[in-house]
Symmetry: C2
Subunit: 187 residues, 2 copies
DNA sequence: TTTAATTTTTGACTTATGTCAAAAACCCAA
DNA sequence: TTGGGTTTTTGACATAAGTCAAAAATTAAA
């Protein structure tokens, strides 16, 4: 919980009341490797803060699993589309490692927004950061060759290779596992 | 201006005071085809609402122009990375058609946030929408073949072909102009 | 340990897309 | 209306990445 709070306040300094209110609204969850935080067809009603562990978001396309994001320590995770719109998710969220998470329900968060302008500001700022991070990923994904994308991923998340099966990484990079394997073998 | 207000309030209903405050903070701008709203190396200090016209964001990569987004009527446009972080932009924003825009400076917006929780909420909601829209574009860009991406673009923005040169569209789709031309010729 | 299951690599071949150059079509301005 | 510039298409060829199948390596389980 301390990690959550200090991470949050790095985004934006909160008043003590807001901080206390926030603390009471998160619930701790622990799940084991390979378990699902969300399965497709369900509405994702919670936002999670990932304190420890690793997980992935993936969906099924023509019988194949497409891993389109990873979550690691200090990430906020959810199926954003489902969480925001209230529609059922097309994606699944599955643990790659056993995880410790903090969950907050959407209605609880909405309630907090109404009571604390502070917290809504915090979330607005968080969205800004997540938006530009996604924008960068988008540009890289579309306009850089596979090899560069791989190298940048390794640089950003050096431990990912030890934590995540290669097949998931290949999928995340938008290439086949065989191609990724060949990229790696040429150094 | 009426268009801006009614677009905004479709996101979130504002109090009359907030609405009035907002109105006074936007300035009208008109620019001609091919002019630049922003050039790389400068900080983008404004957020714009595009009332009429079309424009594109592009950056230079190995001597080539990569068009990575388009703006049309009712879009909010800016170089989000630069606007949010205050760093210089790596991208350019150029008009494809003559445009009417409404501009608001970042400091003015920050001021509005402090005075009206309402407006910060509105922007938080706008970010949510823009985030999930970008997420969808990301998934399509990385995991769908060029032909499908083209077809979906035409469906979403049927008039784009009459308004935007094919080369820009090819770049936006992440394929060469020749490939796009061939996709089109096979219907 | 040894075996079984899973993950990763390698090989042979196919397909999609890129590149460069030139021709064709289109569009505007004199 | 015509001619020059731009945009789009076509052709020939090169390259990146995909697919399928099997071997090798790694990991987990008995």
């Amino acid at each position: 919980m301390q990690q959550l709070l200090s991470h949050i306040t790095a985004y934006h300094r909160l008043s003590t009341e807001a901080e206390n209110a926030l603390q009471n609204c998160f619930t701790e969850i622990t799940l084991n490797k390979n378990e699902f935080l969300l399965t497709q067809g369900n509405v994702c009603r919670h936002l999670y803060f990932l304190e420890k562990g690793a997980l992935r978001g993936f969906y099924n396309l023509d019988g194949k699993e497409i891993t389109h994001w990873f979550g690691f320590e200090k990430d906020f995770v959810t199926s954003f589309h489902s969480f925001i719109t209230g529609e059922v998710a097309v994606e699944n969220i599955q643990l790659i490692e056993s995880c410790t998470l903090w969950a907050i329900a959407k209605e609880t968060l909405t309630e907090l927004f109404n009571q604390h302008h502070d917290i809504e500001r915090l979330v607005r700022i968080a969205y800004e950061k997540y938006y530009i991070r996604l924008e960068e990923r988008y540009v890289n994904a579309q306009f850089k060759p596979a090899k560069e994308r791989y190298e940048e991923l390794i640089q950003q998340a050096p431990h990912i290779l030890e934590r995540v099966p290669l097949g998931f990484i290949a999928s995340y990079l938008g290439i086949s596992q065989e191609t990724l394997s060949r990229i790696r073998s040429r150094f």
